[in-house]
Point group: D2
Chain length 358, copies 4
């Protein structure tokens, strides 16, 4: 109801504010008996941490995950296993500079949720954006990292990369190179131009947007017809990321200009001849690769003077200080992967619920 | 779980297959005391009915809504009122030609759910696409028409129009003209070219896609932070429509190429200076107009020979007969409106749940 | 939210009023491929129908179930199979005498929901009790009869019987005899005294209550710890039946007077030595027989003058006419069975969701 | 799905094991702007803490609540207010003696969830009962204490007392005296005999059960017809408490022996003449006092030798050490109150969702 829970079987509830004591997630519905590799979870956290490439905030958060419940190390085993009970994950906030937000107590920053939170709740934690801060996504990444370990047992993998940043688009896709540059960009040459662009824009106190593409392997049969089509639930998950303003599957918006004869993916005895569908037919996965893209808007916190109003409704100007990213990319990449993983695992378990073995 | 229900407070469950006895919807959670104008509901059904413009199937369905429960006409009143109990809406199928689908019993049509339904369920009703048929959306439109009457009491209106069809984009927006052409296109000149394009493509047995834009008025404060952001739930609803392959809000994918200083909507004492956000900030409505667009893929049923396989996994060719639309546009337009209405009403009621009056 | 849906995976939504056009249920989440025996469903309906023994109303409803969706008869098979899509069940009302309720339009009958529905909704369908009528339970029995056919494949059976009626308690349990008397009473001698008691009370225009015991076979492992303990969900389901005012498991209220050493069920290599737990430990089924009992209050519609008030708040007297049962027993028996079946099947599927096969 | 969440609008998710790092609760859906009195919450915790009267375990847990999120102290105010975002409550475990459970690693204690957890999950945290421990209810009491502060604004109060313990029933009800004895017993003389009985049973290493009665004030109109009747949801909540084996409302099981003319509560111009209904009619609160009772089984951990089996299926004997209560009463009393409060607040908010102001 209040929207802090995602999933129906593998249910993740996140909590916490940017400058509160801690943030965290409770996972309910994780299958029991899964051996958890805690280092892998921590590595996933590191990918979302500030301080990556020229586009990231210098806020220093170790983002150390503590697991407070739901696991148990059986005698003679080295790693904890899930017990089927709720897994409580917590990350204590270490480097919150709340003071630098004092001047924002009564001002509505353009492009931020300040105005809408005030309108909805009549009260808001203004420090660092409170609940609306991207910091909340650290809890999603933690939960997604748990999901990844369950999915791995079913051969499901999810990888995201940057295909556009600051107006620069990739010209080729070499997935082997995505970890060679801070933007997870599969085109090394484009990655260089992106870095240059980011530096230039940062100099002006401005920010940039981009496009992230996420691909995943997926067995056929996931997704529910009608309202919970796989694309619908994936879109729900991806659009729930703050900076995302659009999502498309397979040919996506380009399909609007295609003929049926061009867009249809013929089926051969060896499989589908193309993948304009992005791996989903009638809301159910076909076994082809899942392909989706999200539009990421530029970070609204800019160091350029903007006009806005304060709580009293008076006109004021604002220049946002604090420590901010120049782009949500690349830190949004593990968040996109997390949301796709959470969605796929949830649908895998939903599918299992309907296929009770006789 | 099985995905045939939409909404959390105003919950709509649809049921029925294209060539079954009937299709229908059950609305649970409709506020009591709403006087229902049945003719208005029926008019909304008429907008989704086959036989509109050159792009529609000639299947003849009167789509007469019967309300089996949940309303009561108080003594001395002329119209039924909702009682707060479930409203059961049913539409009996009249013009199903199941015979023409006999040859499809064992063949997987490209671009359709035949393959994926078989993979998921191990059984499927092949007649007219069964549950995967767009006919299911008639039940959504009926439920959306009930929602519209509740929303009207709160001053919330939703209107959709076609901004691209078969590669033709609008050059201007004159909303007053959208009912003057069968495509709900706000550019009369573009509408003419669309009609021409549709006729030409139909001649070749092919189909076209397009883009629908939906706008809605909305009070500030709707939408839940984090996972159920207003955009996330709207995307969920819109992406659950069979032919939709992408959705974007405000500047959408174009925002990926903007700078923060260009994309931010400044706030003046008189309101927002622009609407790149599409009416939503941090997942909560700002009071600005909601603006979203969906990419509609071309109808996969084409009268051109395609290669595919049958249930035995053998290569076959297929040319889809039956009575089909050339484009999901314009019949998809009331469906898009319905999904936006259902989402907005649900969030209006959710917001109300959290604001219990003291 | 509005409470007309039961279950999380096998979700049943009922709709309809006592004197409306029809009542019905939509089942979402039924596994696909289940061959449905329609006659068995109809036989279950017959058990709940009016006109059984001296305690039942003479209203004549054939209660013929029509299945409008969600099934498909594969070529060469004689019976329909579930397809995994929603199953819409409808029962048209045939013998509603709304006129006889005209005098109740503005009067609040003691023991009925007239007052509370008016308080909650500000409007109510007074004819035959509207939505609050026990007629609604016909839809539950229909859905429960579908559930029974799925459960049967897993060896799960549920049987209820009457252990007290009108103050007469059974002295022995011979389950083989429960179909030899109209009260499903396992003590033939007590059954005769019950019949006598009912006749005598009917003569005075009064009504009686009783106790129903429900037993079920159940594999170990069903039920979720903490809030959705198997007993909690069974209690939820059983207490949702209008006339039920109490529910207990195993030793139940008698356990309050036992010592731990008396109440604990010892475990032997051959199984449990007793069953004070009623088949559930820590909210999870142990594999022992499930045993529960419900207290059924006397029907509030009595042909004896009572004092009450009308909508204007004025004191009036009332003597309830219409066609009413003398006791909810025995017609409540298949309803109790249905609620237990729906709960067990839902938990069987929930358990399956968490145990995705690797 | 996995059952660790309660409520639909005011949603409480608990997590944690008896001997893990911590236990806690996340509340999602709490209305914003509520000033929280933290001392009152802590006082409620104290009522559930071990070490009360002769019946309680000597385990020493301060049960200090830490609120990690969801509150904010506005400038110039002394107390934190809820912000409408999730409230994360955590209680670190301080006095866990896991060693004393080492011998239980492979043994199934009679009357406990050891066997069923193993059957369901294939793995279990045996230390102190793990997730099945009554320690989990501390998190419920914390959440219930927050709910109490919201309910207080609506004039809703809930009080529970002991009406039977170890076979001793109360003879009179003087609610003013319930805090004068450790059992919250409204009959001082019975309370003395209960204390004596507990001492005597403790000497034998045995344990006792009892009955708790809960009463609450409640405005008319709460509760949803059909499946989520107020009694059904209250029963769900109360039966989800480990030791509870039965629940009844108003006259409860006694109603089974009454005539309709005896059980019906006549309505006068000044209100209801009696309260056999326990404050609920047709599942909706009538405005009368809510009255319900729960049967509490004796604690299964007894210091008397019992026969059972181990994981290998071999017969063993067991005498349960550790620090245990002699009865779940009185510590279960604030837990019962918490579950009733959570249910009432949830229904208050649900009702509000359906009554959106026009």
């Amino acid at each position: 109801m209040a929207g802090n829970t995602f999933g129906q079987v593998f249910r993740v509830t996140t909590w916490g504010e940017s400058h509160g004591t801690a943030i965290g997630a409770v996972i309910d519905g994780c299958p029991s008996g899964i051996a958890l590799d805690l280092e892998k979870i921590q590595r996933e956290m590191a990918r979302r941490r500030p301080g990556q490439g020229g586009a990231s905030s210098p806020r220093k958060e170790p983002d150390t995950i503590e697991i407070l419940s739901g696991v148990f190390t059986p005698e003679g085993e080295g790693a904890p296993r899930t017990t089927g009970t709720p897994i409580s994950l917590v990350i204590f906030n270490k480097d919150a500079h709340s003071k630098s937000y004092d001047n924002l107590r009564d001002v509505f920053r353009p492009g931020h949720g300040d105005f809408t939170y005030q309108a909805k709740y009549g009260i808001r934690d203004h420090r660092g954006g409170g609940r609306a801060s991207a910091r909340e996504t650290a809890a999603r990444v933690a939960a997604g990292a748990v999901a990844a370990q369950v999915l791995a047992q079913h051969g499901i993998e999810v990888v995201a990369c940057t295909i556009a940043l600051g107006g620069i688009r990739i010209a080729r896709r070499d997935m082997a190179t995505i970890h060679d540059n801070p933007y997870c960009c599969p085109d090394p040459e484009a990655a260089q131009r992106m870095e240059q662009r980011v530096r230039e824009v940062r100099g002006r106190g401005d920010t940039v947007g981009g496009i992230v593409e996420i691909r995943g392997s997926c067995p056929p049969g996931l997704g529910e017809p009608v309202f919970d089509k796989l694309e619908a639930d994936l879109a729900h998950g991806l659009m729930s990321i703050g900076a995302v303003k659009g999502v498309e599957f397979g040919a996506g918006f380009a399909a609007a200009d295609l003929l049926g004869s061009e867009n249809n993916d013929s089926i051969c005895t060896s499989g589908f001849a193309s993948n304009n569908a992005g791996g989903v037919l009638a809301g159910i996965s076909s076994g082809q690769e899942l392909v989706m893209r999200v539009a990421v808007k530029p970070i609204p916190s800019i160091a350029i003077e903007q006009t806005t109003i304060n709580r009293a409704g008076e006109a004021v100007t604002i220049k946002v200080g604090g420590r901010h990213d120049i782009s949500a990319i690349p830190r949004i990449i593990p968040v996109c992967e997390a949301m796709v993983r959470l969605t796929l695992l949830d649908h895998l378990l939903r599918q299992s619920a309907q296929a009770v073995e006789k």
